[in-house]
Structures are given as structure tokens and as C-alpha cells.
Symmetry: C2
Subunit: 350 residues, 2 copies
């Protein structure tokens, strides 16, 4: 997209830093009363009254977290916001504000940043959040995006990773493994494209998994659903690094063990068929794939009737005494220890 | 420092992302009641009760904002925190929490990051703030640091850029121009070092200005002083881009003009002597140098008796009706328009 010579190109130097922020954020409207002062002063001013606030931050680096050869900038802007909101929802909080900082090399024309911010704006609209600040600077190489998200929550509603108890049910939202398989398809097509740029790939069989990779959604709806069902999870985490890695976090921080049933893990049919095509075990992908941005929670068994049959919530196991350890019960009823093989940004350096 | 082959080197890959954050932040203690939950969950949880909070963020990029050939990593960590706190103080708020994210290439051993975090920890101690979160990832090239700072303030005490009125006095804290001249000396010594690595520079005549560049301080003390003096500025901004640039911000956002008196601008003797040595006009440096992290404020004339004679506060001019424009009155009583030539990260790409 940014290589298209027919598009008009405005260099970033023409605008300068202040002009750039003003230009990119001029359409952003303020939706929350808690946003007292947004972009334009030394700091934003917020007033969440009697609520507690939650704060989370993520840094996305070109060629570590994303590859612009197949990630459209608009999707990237959207995803950069969503991955942070996911952490807010994992606290059972409502996301209200974000700051967005970018460092960008001069190889990006203004129009590319406009695309990126269009994605940020779309996410802000859909998730009902205010963009309250940020920083824009140059980088000597690629694109770096830093997002900090802020949410609000009543003190009694906040859910930590540390509250799971033995016998609590382990519940996952949606389905998992799709984002990772979407990435595998995109990487394969990139290699094909290098060899034969004329090749027109047929991506129809992969639409769901590619969308899960390029344009994930955060489970704002689940926070609302839990409130409606009157279920407060005992612990919760979002699935960014993979089911096994997140389950281990819950166990370690709650001082419990876990048994996960392989046959309960929710997989989309496209994940299963693509795993077959790539000759990969789908359970391995579900456990270790990452970037699902689903929520993994534990709930008291007493709450089971409230969630039973809800298509958004799947019970995949239960928590045990710590001494029992952390295990996967396979379809063949084998007991396999769960170990973290989650995506590690420190080991993925290009 | 990081080139020293005799130091032990631990590769970042050995620790991985989770191990790295835990390792780097394990000594960080929590000082504020408002920090309900710090590092270790999906998000930090804060409770500032009835106070408003302020939020500000900055992104520092290697070879754009800092040059590791002469900036020690410990100082860099310290400075990365301080520049953000400066924005919090510019709102007349108390800084309480920060998040710190870093992207770093594998050329940095663990020991280098420990140095960086030692500087962050020192700043957190001195400024009494909690480090509540962050993200650690790899970069394909240099070091990137993203800091978000949070502060709290009583609703009635918050000071914006927009409240200045005609006839208000323009007041600056400390002295200005030193950080920029410190940078000039460091850049010159770097060039000398390239030609003759054996050369031992005598930096004694430049200790103050080099410290202002490498290890600036934010004016937390001024927020306390103003409270003690019972002075609430009508507008305030911190000086990061240069006096002229910040004065223009105050004027534009307050819809007023300004007259600044050249002979009132506070300069350290080292700035004056170094400017003479470099054959640069010291007023130009004071107006456009930047990175001073002093506070520039406007106060009502009624408050003048309260600040009179205070060595921390210098009246350098006064605000006018907008139509009068923005001017510097030179020592020769010439009236010169003030224009922004502040440091522009978008134009400084290496």
C-alpha cells in the first residue's frame, strides 16, 4: 500500500511534530465524561470519580510484532489498540482512554500514517474509547507503536489473575488457535509471492483465520455479558501468548493446579482444516499459538448454571490443588504436563 | 560501557520476556496507597479517590533522542523518567506512577538493561513514584524507551496552558539554555574522540551544562513551593522544546500575546562562557535550545509579592492582548518577533 507511487505523498518533515499530532488526531472526538482534558496540554486530565482505574501498556515493533509486507496499516492501527483493550477487559474493567505514541522513519509518507490513525480511530469508535494523548517522533528504521490503555472499574468488580480456587471451572471465550494459523497462511503466501509475484492466491478457505490474525477483536462484550449473567470470575487473563502460557500464569498467581481437557478446547473448523493442510497438531496450536485475545477465566462451580449453554463461554477444565500440578487430559485420556511455549518476543528477533 | 568485554554478559534470550521484566523490576517497591496493584497482572490497578489524574507519555528513540556513544545507560533511564514527570508537574500535579516499556536489540546484554533500570529506579526513588507496569520486547535495531507517567491533583489545583490573561507575569524557574550547550560540548568531544581516541578531554569547565544534558531534573520542588507560597499559576508548561516554542504555546492556547525581556532571561555563567567559546548568541540558545525541563508559568500580578525575591522564580516578561503579538525586547530595546525554532524530532532524523 505505501509503495503505490500513484498515491500522493506528503513528507513528514513538511508538517513537523506538532503539526503531525494535530493533523492525525483532529477527527478524534471525546466520548467520556471522565476525559476532562484530552490532547493539547502537557498531560491529559481524567476524572474517574469513585472508580478504580486500570492501566496497561504495549509496545509493537515492526518486523518483530508485525510485517508490513502483508499487514495493512489500517489493520495495524486497529490491532495496536485492540491488544491493549484486551488487557483492560481481562481486569473485568471498562476501557475508557488510550494514549498512542509512534516512532516512524521518513520512508513513511503522511498518507501511510493517516491510514494507521484511521485504524486507531475506527477501534476508538467501535470500543468507545477516547484517544487522550501520545507522542510522535522519528525512528532511524521502522515503525514502533506504543499504546497505553486506561479503564475504569468499581472496586468490587476488579478481577485479578490470583483469585482462582481448587474446583473452580476453567472457562475460555470464543475459539482459539485461529490467529496463529492465519499467520502461517500469510507467511506462506509471502514466500510464494517472493518467487512468483504474479501469483494470485486463493485465500477464501482462510478468511476467518486471516481476519483473526490481521484484525483481532477484544472481548468487551464478555465484560458486559458477565455483568448481565451476574457472574464475577474468580480470576481472569487474556490470551495473548497462548492458552498454556496463560493457564500457567493463573495457576502460579492463584497457587493452584489445573486440568485441561483436550476434547473441550474450542476450535474453529478452519483451524482444524488448515492444521491438517500444514500437518500440524491443532491442540498444539490451541495451546501455544497466541494472539487470540480471548479471555481465560475461572469461575466458581456455583456459577455454572448461569453460563451453561452460552455459546460464548466454554468450560475446558477445572482448577485443582497446587500439588496436583498442571496437566492436559488428551482425547486418549493421557495425562500430559502443560508447559509454556508461548510466543516470546525476545526470541523472535529478525 | 556496554562495549567492555571484561564485564559479564548475559544474553536477553536466556531470560525471555517474562523473566526479563521480573528480573529488572524485582527491587522496585511501592510507595503510594493509590497503587492498588502493580506489575504482574494484565493491568495495574490504581485508586486516586476523589483526585483527578493526569496522564502523559513520551517515546525516546536511540540516535534520535539520545546517542549511546556518550550517554551512560543509567543516566538515560533516569532522564527517560524525568522528562515525563516534568509534564506532570507542568499540570501542577503530583507524579505518582509510571509505566516503562522498552524495545531493545540483542546487541544489548542483560547487564546494559540493568544499568538502564538502575537509572529508572533511582529516579523513582528520588521523585517518589511507583513503577506499575511496562512491556519488554526486542527491536531489530536500537533501543526505544516509552514512558507513561500518571499524577494526581485536586480538581481546583490543576493548571492548563490556556489560562493566561493579559498583564499576567511570565515566570520561568531555574535557568535555561544549559542542556543544549551541554549537548554541543558532548558532540564536539565525540568528534575529537573519533579523530584521536587517546585524547583525554578536560570537561571541568562544562560540568554544570553537561549534567543538565545528561541528567536533567524535573521541578517537583516548584509544585510544592507554589503550594507553600499559595500561588496558583494561571497557565503553565514545561520547557522541553525551548522557551520561545513554549511561550508561543501559552499565547496560542490562552489567546494572548507576550513580551519577553532579553535581559531578564536567567542564564548560568557556564552557558554564557560556553556560548562565547562556540561563538553562539546565548539568547538564541535560551530561546530555542530546549531540554531544560524548567517550568514556564504565568501568574497574576497580585501574586507578585509572594514570589518576589525567590531565587527559583524569575519574572522575564508579561502577557499582553493577543493583538500585540509575541515579542522579545532586546537589551538594545529592539522589538523582535518570537518565532518557534524549537527542536523538532521529525526534522532531526539521523
Amino acid at each position: 500500500m505505501i509503495e503505490d507511487k500513484n498515491q500522493s505523498r506528503t513528507s513528514l518533515e513538511q508538517l513537523g511534530e506538532f503539526g503531525l499530532i494535530e493533523h492525525l488526531t483532529k477527527n478524534f472526538d471525546i466520548k467520556h465524561k471522565s476525559t476532562v482534558k484530552s490532547i493539547g496540554d502537557d498531560a491529559a486530565v481524567l476524572d474517574h470519580k469513585s472508580k478504580q482505574i486500570v492501566v496497561t501498556t504495549d509496545l509493537l515493533v515492526e518486523n518483530v510484532h508485525f510485517d508490513l509486507s502483508y499487514v495493512p496499516l489500517k489493520h495495524l492501527g486497529y490491532k495496536a489498540v485492540v491488544v491493549n483493550l484486551s488487557d483492560v477487559y481481562a481486569m473485568n474493567a471498562e476501557a475508557t482512554q488510550i494514549t498512542v505514541s509512534i516512532a516512524v522513519s521518513n520512508r513513511f509518507p503522511l498518507e501511510a500514517l493517516e491510514e494507521l490513525y484511521a485504524g486507531i480511530e475506527t477501534a476508538a469508535k467501535i470500543y468507545n474509547i477516547d484517544v487522550i494523548g501520545g507522542d510522535t517522533t522519528s525512528s532511524t528504521t521502522g515503525l514502533i507503536i506504543s499504546v497505553t490503555a486506561i479503564g475504569e472499574v468499581n472496586k468490587k468488580d476488579v478481577v485479578y489473575r490470583s483469585g482462582a480456587k481448587p474446583n473452580d471451572l476453567l472457562v475460555v471465550t470464543g475459539d482459539i488457535g485461529a490467529a496463529y494459523m492465519g499467520l502461517q497462511v500469510l507467511e506462506r503466501e509471502k514466500e510464494v509471492f517472493k518467487v512468483n509475484p504474479q501469483n494470485q492466491p486463493d485465500l477464501d478457505p482462510y478468511t476467518y483465520i486471516i481476519e483473526r490474525q490481521l484484525k483481532p477483536e477484544a472481548r468487551k462484550d464478555i465484560v458486559a455479558l458477565l455483568k448481565q449473567l451476574e457472574v464475577k470470575p474468580t480470576a481472569m487473563i487474556d490470551i495473548s501468548d497462548g492458552l498454556s502460557s496463560e493457564a500457567i500464569h493463573l495457576c502460579k498467581q492463584s497457587d493452584v493446579g489445573v486440568e485441561i481437557y483436550e476434547n473441550k478446547i474450542p476450535l474453529d473448523p478452519q483451524v482444524i482444516s488448515t492444521c491438517e493442510e500444514f500437518n500440524i497438531d491443532s491442540t498444539t496450536i490451541a495451546l501455544n499459538g497466541g494472539e487470540d485475545y480471548e479471555l481465560l477465566m475461572t469461575i466458581s462451580q456455583q456459577d455454572f448454571p448461569k453460563i451453561k449453554g452460552n455459546p460464548n463461554l466454554t468450560v475446558i477444565g477445572y482448577m485443582t490443588e497446587k500439588e496436583r500440578g498442571m496437566h492436559l487430559i488428551t482425547r486418549g485420556e493421557q495425562v500430559v504436563p502443560i508447559i509454556a511455549k508461548g510466543w516470546n518476543a525476545m526470541k523472535n528477533e529478525a
